[in-house]
Symmetry: C2
Subunit: 252 residues, 2 copies
DNA sequence: CGCCGTCTTGATCTCGCTCAAACCCCGTGG
DNA sequence: CCACGGGGTTTGAGCGAGATCAAGACGGCG
């Protein structure tokens, strides 16, 4: 049922016009009149879609462009000298990306596509000029950076929780972000492999699996590979808050 | 020996003049000529020292002021609905504080004094005006915010490590920050109780203790309550990078 | 049809948590 | 000066969540 029938946004819409873009209400263009929309429109450069695994920008790279994710998904990662790395976050459609270099002028981490992804590149200097003229754009830029900080703090707070809570919080976050796109918040299509989820949450891949399996058994989720349905938001919320739940009866 | 004799900075120096302040080379005043120094000077308000446990500002509070820590130490914490909390960071002398509200105009966390602490309050709107005139101040503000983001990312990366590494990284960070104040990087005076270190690092208080005890036994540290001497920076660095170390021989 | 990468499951072990008690330092008051 | 008390810290014992190692299942693709 619901063969993506009720989708308000057609994410892969016409390529080169903010006016036509389905994501407009979510991106910097939100609330602009058609004149200023054209100004923004002229800013947007074209960039061929990223292939899975392709790097959008590297750490230390000069920050010349910010990106709005049009479709697909990306991850940002901090890599350490010793070869280890930390997934800092995931970036989904409708989200602004690359503002991490705002302060130093250089990107602080690497961003890589998880899937084939389309982005709208916005040259930074031109965008700044536009922001100076349009307080609403300025405000949205600030808000976007602020959200990143907030996300980091939530991420940090998560890391202090036991594994079940962490995964539940992760899923709820994804669900909420999906709701903002007017997509079904109960039907998740995970863009990232278990390994990336595990790293992001600071736990082992196997633990992620087991937590999925458990919530599946409990009827909170229906998990099949990267397709995750949230069957019971109520109880998922319970897990987020660390509510104790009945032991899994080993039927037999 | 060295009865604080070689201290370049006298941290509790004269109260109301940036020109006289020992921290000048570290704060926003860095590199300003005497005229502009006076401008900054006129900005600084007076605030009586904070008592231990006193709150500097609350989450959600309007961001009217940023603060330079003159002496003492503070912590910023995110509190959750369920009563749990997460220590997000510690703020030592010479560090700028309160910029977390830069984006939304409201503070995103609560900041509380760990010890009796002195701060220089800088009214935000006046500071912004000054920053518009003085690119160097503007630049320093940006840098300061950028550092916070960077610190968050390092914090996140830490949370993925085993406990010994986490504590070692924490100590190394403190040591480096102390070095910036021209204080002995080997002689740490911890401003915070074990509980706060534990929370910050996402582990149990007892685990913090045991890791201290272990590094003490190994001769990497000399730990006595809140006085920690780093005896072997080399090996401390080793622990940071997760180098395996010989098992503790239960001497018999 | 068979291979390979991703995901899942099982068995085992260990790190770090929990609970609980002792300890130490330091300030207070006798 | 010393006894006392209390908060922060340390230590111990036991346990459990989660890591690790290793094998198997599933699904996609050539």
């Amino acid at each position: 049922m619901t063969q993506s029938q009720g989708n308000v946004f057609e994410l892969s819409a016409h390529r080169r016009s903010c006016g036509n873009c389905a994501l407009t209400p979510l991106c910097l263009a939100a609330g602009l009149d058609s004149t200023t929309l054209d100004q923004l429109d002229n800013l947007v450069e074209y960039r061929p879609p990223l292939a899975p695994g392709e790097t959008l920008f590297h750490r230390g790279e000069c920050m010349r462009t910010v990106y709005l994710v049009r479709s697909g998904a990306l991850k940002s990662i901090a890599e350490h000298e010793d070869g280890s790395y930390q997934v800092l976050g995931f970036h989904l459609a409708g989200e602004l990306l690359g503002l991490d270099g705002f302060f130093s002028g250089r990107h602080t981490c690497r961003v890589e596509a998880l899937q084939r992804s389309r982005v709208c590149p916005l040259p930074w200097d031109a965008l700044q000029l536009l922001a100076q003229q349009l307080p609403s754009v300025q405000h949205q830029l600030m808000t976007a950076i602020g959200h990143e900080t907030l996300a980091d703090h939530r991420h940090l707070a998560m890391m202090g929780c036991p594994a079940p809570r962490r995964l539940a919080m992760f899923l709820r976050d994804l669900s909420e972000r999906q709701a903002r796109l007017r997509l079904d918040p109960s039907e998740l299509r995970l863009a990232m492999p278990r390994e990336d989820i595990a790293n992001f949450l600071g736990m082992a891949e196997e633990t992620v699996c087991r937590q999925f399996t458990r919530m599946n058994a409990e009827g909170i989720l229906s998990v099949r590979r990267r397709t995750v349905q949230i069957l019971d938001h109520e109880r998922l919320g319970g897990v987020c808050h660390g509510q104790p739940r009945p032991a899994v009866a080993a039927s037999g």
